[in-house]
Symmetry: C2
Subunit: 712 residues, 2 copies
């Protein structure tokens, strides 16, 4: 799956990439300040001189409005709630998030879709007393125009002249206004940034704890929170038992001077406890929080999800179960007990972080005055010494990236083996699929839509052992649709897959033992020389990255240029990253590593990580090309080890033929052709035992070596 | 010249890379704070978990002390000055800097060498009431051991267990001590960092304005400040006249809301005024400051340096001359007149920045109280609006990177042409030199030392029209000495250049029309297969970078990996950057661009910039390899322009043969061999008209194409 906008540690998760992308005060004020408060008030420290221009909102075109006209009453009802006792708000922000900053969310959290009518996966609604605006990004402009009523203004995020949410709010609200949010739906970092930005105009951000306001309107129509049973992720796939994982985590706590940690990301909870859930599409996770203390572990989850098998599993690992809703109480208890609580504020919602901070404040207020002064002095002394005495009785918040993220990213032997096995079965399903597609389109001249083709692919995958779900919504893009990076074919409007156009297929499966994500681009007829040149250059980038050998801990962005160089030679490029992390039978997008032009991600690559390798090229209104394999970062035996470093390379996980017909061999070096032939030889060797008859024949044909010419 | 430690915007200039490299609070505290003050006192925000370990100083080995024993009285004299009226200091730091953060400094500023006896180019001395320590880096450990008296402790910077200066100070001083510095020798940023670090232990940094304490001991023996005459840099080389440059700079001021700027970097002053000086070795600059206001330009310089020709030149450009020493008075005047003064705190010394801030403070203190309150309110309003009304009467400091740095980096047509011409004459001198060296060593079997060889090279360069000076100390390293990245051969201790070992020669010239910097590595006998493999891989990196095509504004670090990939394949690497900026008949090292693994330098490459391309490989105690050309960043005509971007590539400036004998052709691709043959063909075409006889013959032999084999 393409890697363009996934970003874990902020509100900019896939589901809301547009609106908040430019509102963050960290990007502007933090830099302008040079990371320090100015020495004296008359200093203007300017490092980035780009000023913000005038803000002009562009209203949605009413002409295109097709739904039943008129006000459905939701906005009026929501605005009435602004005046609830104790609130007195002037605006309310409704993001696309769930309380865990998940990429895929349960229906009960799709509040933005409910209130606005716009059902796209990314968007943020903001309602003031007399205005309602919805921010979304380019892939949803058309859909939003069709779905929004005239009560709403569409904000085409990323288009010149369109304000960010905070720019708009500071523009339309009178100074000193109150802006409300549901604190469960904003990470602490995102809320702090928003608070800071609003405060520059004297606005106040208020956390509405007393229930989500949209839910009060949604009432009984609101889908129930999911209660799908949780299952144990077999140790033969997990590789390491829960006790060992918790034990390593406790070691991290001790090293950081912490006594406890709140785990909020659903995949981190699932990975730590060797559990898998079924609460959302595509990701095998369950809604839950986890608190790990030095001597106890508590899972906060709806008890309905806990089967007898899971009860035993948890008991064996000394994990106590408490209701999902009781988390905040427990967080407050931790403060009262003097816990040193590790909180990853980039992904933990501000309700949790604030609950702990408030409880800490109360703790200190309740201390006798003299003892309080002494303790503050002592605490400062400790902070100064850069070490924390964990015997100290007072609570402390430690803001630091979750250690589970990196532990989960470095797969163990069993996880890697599960990934290898799942990829072979996935490759067999794809071989069956491609054989079917070629037969239907080329031989039978059938008319197939993008949706029908994607459905058929799911059918083939479903037959494979251990298949659970797709790992994301399949991107099935024919011709010009392939150029829409986040394209999702809809039955009513989609194109057909034929032998006239390039066809881009980006898809993946969730299996009991692994997660796949693969993109191939094919032409079932005669590709143009333009298409061949572009495809060849994308493949050259893919090969250059695949063959890279580099010192351990090299940040992924260092390698990004290898995937682009060949396109750059003729002035082409692509507007997304080159690689993202992938979970082992978990989320198809995970951090912390990545291979991208986002140069701020300094996470070094380490052996055992899994990343995608997916350069592409997209010609607007014409065609899209992407070639994606998943690879394992692995130690490589080099004849030297300069500086005592280990050197790393990639082991391929994906074994699906790359269409040789699309290559302009004259552009390729002998070494590149050799790479392709070796890859296809490996595909044949590994996948042919799994497929029979015409599929086996198709695989044979599509893995034959291409001739190595004399010079390039 | 290798690019390893040059870094413009901080105290870490070449001359003091070691000591301060790890003392900066920006690198630690700034990050730990996440760029913001913690919300509440009990939050410990930890992003970088690396703590500082215990500090153990390693004393210099007294056994190796060779100089006349005993105390020379300098330290005692210096310590006496600690008690001067109004001072009462506990320590004094003596860095290697001049007041302009120059790479090469005049003798009168070599105070650290005078006080410590250690004459290496990089090092910082710190003297307390009972201790004296000197920090230097690996290349000078041996020299420092020999030169320091037993009164001094040698701090081997970069060695495990060796404290940074501030770590050491906080260790040896009792809390609340006073540490003095000469504020002219520290950039404002460096001083602020030092002040912050010391303050964490309640120490106070004090600026000793009243003369440098070392000068008080040095007395009449101190060399006089240089008074070499300044000359006009001909408009045929400068390309743009002074009035136009000043006019562009004033446009920058207006856009930033500034009314004036202090230019402190000597090459920026020289470039802006089309002047060249002769005050220091290797860089054609003169000690001077420049203040540009919206309606006047003032050069602060010793009037002795101003010839009648220069007087006319400056008058034509409306530049007034004032004495060098009167700068601070002028800065104070600016504050009193309500100037909005642009200060680049990364390179402007803290004496200047502090003078302006103090004068501003006085200005506000002297305002009637009511008007003061009003004005502060108004000022905040203006800051908030991110725009500055330049009519506002009150002074303001604008801390921002100097706009001259980037203007100077982007060369105009005349500058580029001068660089091209100078490089051809330099190439002719090198052809003569290599012919001579081969004849002497191979044919005549002469014994030549590294110093003799470097001297002969200077002789050949000196014969070229317009030659002025070497652009840095020649690095002439035979065998194992080639592996010492900053090697400087000394007559007493240097090795011989023979036909048994690799020989690395990194050198450059200053010419009236350009500046050169070139490295070649040769073997005058039979290279080993190991040497050939390493040389070939270094060349492959050089070629990959040279051939890169990339979107405009790509930061240089993105390209760095291209120069390393081939070495990484076999587990090799080099510990320096790949490219640095070069001035046009100016400093051989200039910013702001670079090509390096220093990922924080986000300066984008732009057409007209000049950078070096100099990958290398160094095998300790064995050999060193570096291949360096200078290249011009230039627009490239690509068949596409994705996203409307221009694409950039490199034009070669350096035309000196690369020794084919050192290549393992079996490792090279046909495309790489083609690059080499094309390069040599161009070398022959451009340089052969400039050399005759045996030199012409040598050039012919050394530019013949190598065979392209069938596959790689």
């Amino acid at each position: 799956m393409e890697a363009v906008i996934w970003k874990r540690p902020c509100v900019l998760a896939l589901r809301s990439c547009g609106p908040f992308a430019t509102c963050g005060s960290r990007g502007t004020c933090g830099v302008r300040n040079g990371g320090r408060a100015p020495q004296r008030t008359f200093i203007l420290r300017v490092i980035n001189s780009a000023g913000s221009g005038a803000v002009v909102a562009r209203p949605s075109s009413a002409r295109k409005y097709k739904r039943s006209e008129g006000v459905d009453g939701k906005l009026a009802a929501l605005r009435q709630l602004f005046h609830k006792p104790g609130l007195q708000m002037d605006a309310y922000i409704i993001p696309s998030q769930d309380p865990h900053q998940s990429e895929f969310i349960a229906e009960c959290f799709m509040r933005r879709a409910f209130i606005s009518g716009f059902t796209g996966s990314a968007g943020t609604a903001v309602v003031t007393k007399d205005k309602a605006s919805l921010w979304t990004d380019g892939r949803y402009f058309l859909q939003a125009e069709n779905q929004l009523s005239p009560d709403w203004m569409l904000m085409r995020a990323g288009t010149p002249g369109v304000p960010t949410i905070s720019e708009w709010l500071t523009d339309v609200l009178s100074p000193g206004s109150k802006v409300g949010i549901d604190p469960f739906l904003f990470s602490s970092d995102a809320a702090e940034e928003l608070k800071h930005t609003l405060s520059t105009k004297d606005h106040k951000l208020i956390y509405v704890y007393d229930g989500n306001l949209v839910d009060e309107i949604w009432k009984e129509d609101r889908p129930k929170p999911p209660t799908a049973p949780v299952r144990v992720h077999d140790i033969k796939y997990a590789g390491v038992d829960v006790s060992s994982k918790i034990s390593s985590l406790r070691q991290n706590l001790v090293e950081a001077g912490a006594t406890s940690i709140v785990i909020s990301m659903l995949d981190e909870v699932a990975w730590l406890l060797n559990l898998r859930g079924n609460d959302v599409a595509h990701s095998p996770v369950a809604y839950a929080y986890l608190i790990v203390e030095l001597d106890s572990t508590t899972l906060f989850i709806d008890p309905l999800k806990i089967t007898p098998e899971v009860t035993v599993h948890l008991k064996n690992s000394n994990v106590t179960v408490k209701p999902y809703e009781s988390l905040l109480l427990e967080v407050e208890r931790l403060a009262n007990c003097g816990a040193k609580l590790w909180l990853d504020t980039s992904c933990t919602n501000v309700a949790i972080v604030d609950a702990f901070h408030s409880a800490c404040n109360k703790y200190f207020e309740n201390l006798p005055k003299r003892s309080k002064q002494k303790s503050i002095k002592e605490r400062n002394k400790l902070l100064d010494a850069k070490s924390i005495d964990i015997e100290m009785e007072e609570p402390l918040a430690i803001h630091k990236a979750s250690p589970v993220s990196i532990a989960k990213a470095i797969k163990n032997g069993a996880e890697l083996d599960g990934m290898r096995q799942a990829h072979l079965r996935d490759a067999a399903a794809l071989a069956e699929f491609w054989t079917w597609l070629e037969t239907k389109v080329v031989q039978d001249k059938m008319t197939l839509t993008e949706v029908e083709v994607a459905d058929k692919l799911l059918e083939f995958r479903s037959k494979q052992a251990g298949f659970l779900d797709t790992s994301f919504d399949t991107i099935s893009g024919s011709g010009a649709n392939g150029a829409i990076i986040h394209y999702r074919a809809e039955p009513d409007t989609c194109d057909i897959v034929d032998d006239k156009k390039l066809y881009l297929l980006d898809s993946g499966g969730q299996y009991v033992d692994g997660t796949t994500d693969v993109t191939r681009t094919v032409h079932l007829g005669e590709p143009s020389s333009r298409e061949k040149e572009c495809f060849t250059r994308v493949l050259q980038g893919h090969i250059a990255l695949d063959q890279a050998i580099f010192p351990e801990h090299t940040p992924g962005f260092v390698l990004d240029v290898l995937a682009r160089s060949s396109l750059w030679k003729i002035g082409l490029d692509y507007r997304h990253g080159t690689g993202h992390g992938v979970g082992a039978s978990l989320n198809v997008h995970e951090g912390p590593q990545g291979i991208s032009y986002r140069y701020e991600n300094m996470t070094g690559l380490q052996g055992g990580m899994i990343v995608s390798n997916e350069p592409g090229y997209y010609e607007d209104r014409s065609f899209g090309i992407r070639i994606e394999n998943l690879v394992i970062v692995q130690d490589v035996e080099t004849p030297n080890r300069f500086g005592g470093n280990s050197y790393l390379g990639f082991e391929k996980l994906t074994f699906v033929p790359i269409q040789s017909k699309l290559l302009d061999l004259s552009l390729m070096s002998p070494a590149e052709i050799e790479w392709l032939n070796n890859y296809h030889s490996e595909v044949w060797e590994k996948v042919s035992p799994l497929v029979q008859g015409d599929v086996n024949e198709w695989l044979w044909k599509n893995t034959r070596p291409v001739p190595v010419h004399s010079t390039a």
